[in-house]
């Protein structure tokens, strides 16, 4: 029982620290971009440009949201 609680707490800490952070939307946008990149690669379309663009888009949107929430 204690081990199960430790595992649950560990997984929760790992998810919050490394994936969700303080804006889960960033992780969600990156996941969508990874899927889209995979799709482009499978379709034999040049795909290297998509991830950097998605990263910049996710960062700008997240920063803008953070400033709006500061009000």
């Amino acid at each position: 029982m204690i081990v199960w609680r430790w595992i649950k707490a560990g997984v929760k800490w790992w998810l919050v620290t490394f994936v969700i952070g303080d804006d889960w939307r960033v992780a969600a946008r990156i996941a969508v971009a990874l899927l889209a990149t995979w799709g482009l690669v499978e379709a034999d379309v040049l795909a290297w440009w998509l991830m950097p663009l998605a990263v910049l888009y996710a960062t700008v949107r997240s920063l803008h949201r953070a400033i709006v929430l500061e009000r």
């Binding site: 620290t17 994936v19 303080d22 960033v26 040049l46 996710a58 960062t59 500061e70």
Partner: protein, 249 residues
């Protein structure tokens, strides 16, 4: 000693070693050296066990899905730091956080598990790639020993350079460092995740350079943009005040 195997393995391994050392130094300087070095040791231990257990069968290890998972996680985490770095520099300025002042409020006096995991992942992935390079280059020319010595020389040389550079890196104000380390982790994350998806990066490993340049430049631009957004939101109530007063009169 097979010289051509030594040189080619040294050069190929050096790229991976630079990535590994960059992550360890970045995590150590911005978070906590104890966690970063413990993560490094744990990564090396896992690597040693893998090498001992698999030997030349390491060539069969599927690196592509490992790169995708490690890359995606590093990318999302690196973006958190980049974002925090931009927000804090735009609020407090570039010079804040000089000396022992901490960047991350969540790094307490206890053991830093986040730094541990970051260093562990970087070392185990890059170490695995180095091991695969040694096996691939060494086995093809029947000169595993030459390849192993070359990889060890690369680790020692670049590790020493990393050790020598960390004091220099530590002089950078912490807030600015968080932004740059965030850009660095985002760069590695983007590259590895792309490699995991079999993306053909222009310039192959050299694309790490232009990716880093793009993210650092974007970070610098965003500091200005976010400062403007802040000023805009701060000024808005002052602009609205006279109108409100006018209505009340």
């Amino acid at each position: 000693m097979n010289v051509s195997v030594f040189v080619s393995t040294f050069l190929a391994a050096s790229i991976e070693v630079i990535e590994m050392v960059a992550i360890i130094v970045a995590v150590g300087v911005t978070r906590q050296w104890r966690g970063a070095l413990a993560g490094t040791s744990a990564g090396l231990l896992v690597l040693a066990v893998l090498i001992a257990a698999l030997g030349t069968a390491l060539q069969g290890v599927p690196l592509t899905p490992i790169r995708l998972v490690v890359g995606a996680l590093l990318l999302v985490f690196g973006l958190q730091w980049l974002r925090k770095g931009v927000l804090r520099v735009s609020r407090d300025g570039w010079a804040s956080g000089i000396g022992e002042q901490r960047v991350e409020e969540d790094v307490g006096d206890g053991f830093d598990w986040t730094g541990f995991v970051l260093a562990f992942r970087g070392v185990s992935l890059e170490g695995l790639e180095i091991a695969v390079i040694v096996v691939a280059f060494g086995a093809a020319a029947h000169a595993i020993a030459s390849a192993a010595v070359a990889a060890a020389a690369s680790v020692l040389l670049i590790g020493a350079l990393g050790l020598a550079s960390y004091r220099l890196v530590a002089r950078i104000p912490r807030r600015a460092l968080q932004l740059f380390v965030g850009a660095l982790l985002t760069t590695f994350g983007t590259f590895w995740a792309g490699e995991g998806l079999r993306v053909n990066w222009p310039g192959n490993d050299l694309s790490l350079l232009w990716l880093a340049a793009v993210y650092v430049a974007a970070g610098l631009v965003l500091v200005r943009v976010v400062s403007d957004w802040r000023r805009g939101t701060a000024q808005r109530p002052r602009v609205q005040q006279p109108a409100a007063e006018g209505v009340s009169r």
